[in-house]
């Protein structure tokens, strides 16, 4: 569902153009670099754009009777061509849709490019690779990517419309709710059917000899290295973000244990402890000594296991030394 020409006021239209411009410029830059290295990929890109346009005009069999919906092809495109190229191809497809099919518009092109070719394709791409990292089955990842891309596009469109036309009484929040509900009628069945269709299409594509597809369908090996990097980044974030939050939290109390906080709050309500510990450490230094001893024993055990397994790998000549290679 594209925002029609003239539906956004001038300021909003210009704003969304400015927001989308860096993404499209980055896409153009990366496409231009690929073209300088391998000029022959130009035809492949042009053909992919034609494919994306034809796909976006495809009428889907309707799940809910009465609603006729068109595919968007974002999920498939983001998986096959990666989001930077999709920003360029998506802009071209949206411009042609405005000029040849009267869907969308020029001044609203920025907003439509942002919701579909940028947010939609990055969400689809993220969901696909995130699902692969977590270890979900392939078909589930494809389904989630195609459906999530469509849903993200639809939510972004609702947000854009609500920002431009806030409700007279309930303001921005009410307008978001209104547009989400109105658009849901066509967009949620569309997301589900496009998810199913994309799974079927990708399954049939992988049944075809992948070497014929010339590295465009880059499923297992090429992705593995990127996944390893993403996984490391994810772990670093998981460790880093709570640390930063803790440091910004400031006072020492933010590091206080849950046990102490809970027993305090229970005693505040008038409950009395009816038994006490058999033995408690004589002072705080002994207590922290015991804690660090416990940590040292645990660390020793964990690293013994890691080292043992690494040694086992090294002994086995059949297996590679490093998993990431």
């Amino acid at each position: 569902m594209h925002i029609a020409e003239g539906f956004l006021p001038a300021g909003h239209a210009a704003g969304w153009w400015l927001v989308s411009a860096p993404f499209v410029a980055h896409g153009l830059y990366s496409v231009g670099r690929t073209l300088r290295e391998k000029p022959e990929t130009k035809l492949m890109l042009g053909a992919s754009g034609g494919f994306a346009f034809v796909l976006s005009a495809l009428k889907l069999p309707s799940l809910a009777s009465g609603s006729c919906s068109h595919a968007t092809g974002i999920g498939l495109g983001a998986i096959l061509f990666r989001p930077p190229a999709m920003a360029v191809l998506g802009s071209i497809v949206l411009l042609f849709q405005a000029m040849l099919l009267a869907h969308g518009g020029w001044t609203t092109l920025g907003a439509n490019v942002f919701s579909m070719a940028i947010v939609g394709s990055w969400v689809a791409y993220g969901l696909f690779h995130g699902g692969r990292i977590v270890g979900l089955p392939f078909a589930v990842c494809v389904f989630l990517a195609a459906m999530g891309g469509d849903l993200a596009t639809y939510c972004t469109t609702a947000l854009q419309l609500a920002l431009a036309h806030p409700d007279a009484v309930s303001g921005f929040a009410g307008a978001v709710a209104k547009f989400l509900v109105i658009l849901a009628w066509t967009q949620i069945p569309l997301a589900i059917s496009e998810g199913m269709l994309t799974v079927l299409a990708i399954n049939m594509l992988t049944a075809y000899d992948p070497s014929q597809l010339g590295g465009l369908v880059d499923f297992p090996q090429r992705i593995a290295r990127r996944h390893a990097r993403l996984l490391t980044l994810g772990i670093a974030l998981l460790i880093g973000v709570p640390l930063v939050i803790g440091l910004l939290g400031g006072d020492e109390a933010s590091f206080a244990g849950a046990d102490g906080l809970v027993s305090e709050s229970i005693e505040e309500q008038g409950y009395q402890p009816w038994c006490s510990s058999l033995w408690s450490p004589p002072n705080a230094e002994i207590e922290s000594l015991l804690f660090s001893l416990q940590a040292a024993i645990g660390a020793g055990l964990v690293f013994y296991c890691v080292g043992y397994h690494r040694g086992q790998h090294a002994k086995d000549p059949e297996r590679p030394h490093d998993v990431s290679d």
């Binding site: 006021p9 492949m44 042009g46 053909a47 992919s48 071209i92 042609f96 007279a168 010339g214 465009l216």
Partner: protein, 254 residues
């Protein structure tokens, strides 16, 4: 589906891309910038007259292209007309007030005028002329080349797609929902493989002919009429002054 493209090639103004682009883009911008109550109506009428009388597009074609964005416009305007809020007691309140109705009406009117002005370029000038114009104005060459390729190939692929779907329909591929999804999945996958194959064959053909990385085609240069440009600027100026005249009185949608 492709209603606009054949008519653009039959338009009376197909050899005047510069003038039509100036008129159409100017009208779209003015629609957004000027108060809609007098201006959008004038612009809607002006663009309709330009499309029907100037470019010689039949009324039926114009109305059918204008009907395409109508589902979005009607739904969007209805949403604007209805105000939804939650009262202090937690009840849902739906309201239609004169204010929301005016707002919805103005946005609808402005959108109609803008769509009609955009269709002026789409219906009156073929895409090939617009692309050669962009090339002459030194738009990023990567973008223009990609656009030209996409434009040339999309009709080929659409024909392939409809041939494949007809073949499936003849074999009862769209008998019920289950088979429809299976057939559509198969047709998308098959089309993708066809697309890759065609791109590779085109690539080989171009390489064999000494491709330098740019697809140069002979573009006809159409003389730009000074009088027409002057008239178009005069129209824009008249619209701006009309907008300024009613600046205080004309209601503004957001």
């Amino acid at each position: 589906m492709y209603l606009i493209d054949p008519w653009a090639n039959h338009s009376r103004w197909r050899e005047r891309p510069t003038e039509v682009l100036l008129l159409s883009a100017g009208l779209v911008l003015l629609t957004l910038l000027l108060p809609p109550l007098p201006c959008a109506v004038v612009i809607l009428l002006l663009s309709a007259v330009a499309i029907l009388a100037g470019a010689g597009i039949p009324l039926g074609v114009y109305l059918r292209t204008m009907a395409v964005p109508m589902s979005f416009l009607v739904m969007g305007a209805a949403t604007l007309a209805l105000s939804v809020s939650v009262s202090a007691e937690g009840r849902l309140c739906l309201a239609v007030t004169p204010d929301t109705l005016t707002h919805a009406g103005l946005v609808f009117l402005r959108s109609m005028a803008a769509v009609s002005s955009m269709m002026l370029l789409a219906l009156a000038v073929p895409m090939g002329e617009i692309l050669s114009l962009l090339r002459r104005w030194r738009a990023p060459i990567v973008l223009v080349e990609l656009m030209a390729l996409v434009y040339r190939l999309l009709f080929v692929f659409d024909k392939t797609l409809s041939a494949m779907m007809r073949a499936q329909a003849c074999r009862l591929g769209y008998r019920n929902l289950r088979t429809s999804y299976r057939s559509l999945g198969a047709v998308v996958a098959a089309l993708f493989i066809r697309v890759i194959d065609r791109a590779r064959r085109l690539e080989r053909g171009l390489a064999a002919r000494g491709d330098q990385g740019e697809l140069r085609v002979l573009a006809c240069r159409h003389p730009v009429s000074r009088g027409a440009i002057g008239l178009i600027l005069l129209i824009h100026l008249a619209l701006v002054s009309l907008g300024l005249l009613v600046e205080g009185g004309g209601p503004w949608p957001n």
